[in-house]
Symmetry: C2
């Protein structure tokens, strides 16, 4: 099958050095599920007592692993002992056979870890509608268990990718109640060449001691400023999953309230790791040649600001203009207008690259088109939009829409 080997021009130089997270071992192996000669199956083993949190796709059509995660996260104790991720087949729209594959995979992982299958979390990414044969996964499980290591991050980050052009990882350390706590995460994005492989997955691991409900609250808050603020093409996968696991191995007293001041730094660093991973996903967007930040202020609420920002960031006309190095601010106004959110047209302001373009509902008297064009012809683009109605704000990240996107999605076949 065709593969795009060209790394995104926005890729970091190398995979970051991720620290061990006490209570977590991880590994990736080439199980021959879909790809040849590259890892495509990931296993994480988690210490007893680990708690899980998760944010799953809001699509009306979801894969069997997502349905299973929803059930697991509905249990108050949220216990987790393992995570299995396969790349190449999303196990979506596969009926009863899909559910059987999920059960077989969980049982195989529970077997090698020595736990209840209900404590194994699953995620899949890849083709929709093709039956997932669990046999190669079951066969690979003993070898995968033998490869588990506290430092297996990079191989694991590679094994969860489909057509991403680089593996994605981020980490932070923080102090809770005098104890050093580590957060590490890996993610995959939408570097797609094979049809249907645009699922976004991210997995966060920490040794903090947190009840599942607290971890869930902190994860959701971090999502609101990270993964919920990125878009590549506005499409939503059937399998998007962000899961967080807290092993409790750090040794501090469990913190039972998400608003406890002892968690302030942890919450901030968790958000920072999520933002780092989310930005890496955007930087590996299909065909991306520019990284775009859309800063919205003056909206009726933060939610409204996010909707305005996403309308701008998802507009094909905005994204193609930026791809072409065109400081086409009229399209920014058009896209904000179509968001359906409250705007005070006579107070709208637009800036590109920090310079004013429009204010008070008309072009700015000092608008310098040459400067705006020079900024938009760079690789890091910053658009600011003020809606003129309130204090709501949001920051959205996206990439441009290029011939590369069309080539990746239309020109190649699996």
């Amino acid at each position: 099958m065709a593969e795009i080997s060209n790394k995104s021009p926005l890729a970091p130089e190398r995979f970051p050095e991720l620290p061990a997270v006490p209570g977590v071992k991880i590994a990736g192996v080439a199980a021959g599920l879909h790809y040849r000669d590259r890892p495509d199956l990931t296993l994480a083993a988690l210490a007893e007592g680990t708690r899980a949190a998760g944010v799953l796709t809001r699509s009306g059509v979801v894969g069997a692993p997502v349905t299973r995660c929803r059930e697991q996260l509905g249990r108050p104790e949220r216990l987790a002992r393992g995570l299995v991720v396969n790349a190449g087949n999303a196990n979506v729209f596969t009926g009863a056979a899909g559910e059987a594959a999920v059960e077989a995979t969980a049982a195989a992982a529970a077997d090698v870890i020595g736990c209840d299958a209900a404590e194994i979390y699953l995620a899949s990414t890849g083709v929709i509608g093709a039956p997932l044969d669990p046999a190669p996964i079951e066969a690979a499980m003993p070898g995968l268990a033998a490869a588990l290591s506290p430092m297996g991050w990079e191989t694991a980050a590679e094994a969860i990718t489909t057509t991403d052009t680089f593996p994605k990882g981020a980490s932070a350390t923080v102090v809770i109640d005098g104890e050093t706590v580590t957060i590490a995460g890996i993610a995959k994005g939408s570097g797609m060449i094979m049809p249907d492989m645009a699922t976004m997955l991210a997995f966060l691991f920490t040794d903090a001691a947190l009840p599942g409900a607290v971890l869930q609250t902190l994860l959701e808050r971090a999502m609101d400023v990270s993964f919920h603020c990125i878009t590549v093409d506005g499409d939503t996968s059937t399998s998007d999953s962000v899961l967080a696991f807290a092993t409790g191995a750090a040794g501090h007293d469990p913190v039972a309230d998400a608003d406890d001041p002892r968690l302030g730094d942890f919450a901030a660093k968790l958000a920072a790791v999520c933002i780092d991973l989310a930005q890496q996903v955007v930087k590996d967007g299909e065909g991306a040649s520019k990284f775009i930040t859309v800063e919205v202020t003056g909206a009726e609420s933060d939610v409204s600001a996010r909707r305005i920002g996403l309308a701008i960031a998802n507009s094909p006309l905005v994204k193609t203009a930026i791809a072409g190095g065109d400081a086409n601010w009229g399209r920014i106004v058009m896209a904000a207008g179509k968001s359906g959110e409250p705007l005070a047209v006579e107070r709208i302001a637009v800036a590109i690259g920090g310079r004013p373009v429009a204010e008070a509902g008309a072009i700015h008297p000092d608008y310098d088109e040459a400067a705006a064009t020079e900024h938009v012809q760079g690789q890091q683009i910053v658009i600011a939009f003020d809606a003129g109605v309130g204090d709501g704000r949001a920051r959205i990240w996206t990439c441009d829409l290029t011939h590369g996107y069309i080539s990746i999605n239309a020109d190649y076949r699996s």
Copy 2:
């Protein structure tokens, strides 16, 4: 400035022969507003007693002409004596100068027609944020008035275009109460090369004798099955306007109720003309190489069906797959899933080109990928999606997403 002269491969062979509509004279001239050597200013003169109806963009940022139309359509009598359309400048985000340009244009048209400026309707399409100088419009008005003709359709249809690759017209005749009534319409779409020129405009003219409120109701019903069912890229213009004018010259007794059985045929033909024009807009979509019909059934309601259909038709992943001749039905399911509308996954059915692809939430046992691929490699694509929850249905038309779209919107500069 750069212009794309290549006609869309989906264009009709020639502009249709539109009949005269009693009470309507129309003309287009090259006023040098924005383009050289082609018509860019349109005037229609309407008989005394003509009533107007309109459906305007739902964008939160609208042009001065749209604001003016909103006010006019808010008056119960809805009287209309003229229509002026300029191409090249949308008169959007232009502040008080934009309002002054609108007033000057209406006054100039009222002068040559001999009516109240409040009875002149306006529409503009083109660049956003550039001041519109009314002087060339005022200067051209006497010549435009002299050129008015019952058969001026084709030049008028050309004069409202921006970068459309062909002028768009459609007509029908119908009998109301024993009298023959004519409906004729022209439209422009989103054949865009100049930034910000993707506005959709359509103007319908009839000699039926209808109160403004009845015309409005019939127009809105026609919109629901025509212009509201098309999408090129999901972007919404600041200037989208569909206006309908009924001169009453046909001589039948005025019909005061939109549900009067005497209007049944008129309503159907008005919808047919709107559907014809709407499909022409799609066929001139930026970079379009294929015409796609999405038929949704089994939704909770007709509104829900339209949302599902638009989610499929707007999905860049669906549109690029079709551009690539790939019968990628998983992307259709993904797009329906992200619509947020009710779906019964275990009863979802998908067909491509009339052949079953998926049913009961999984791939169809008789799925013939070769046949589906052959269909998708053609120029007229039909996708059917059944949501499995109710009786709601909708039909949506769109085009594929090709390198042409990127080239038109990113590669060229004005």
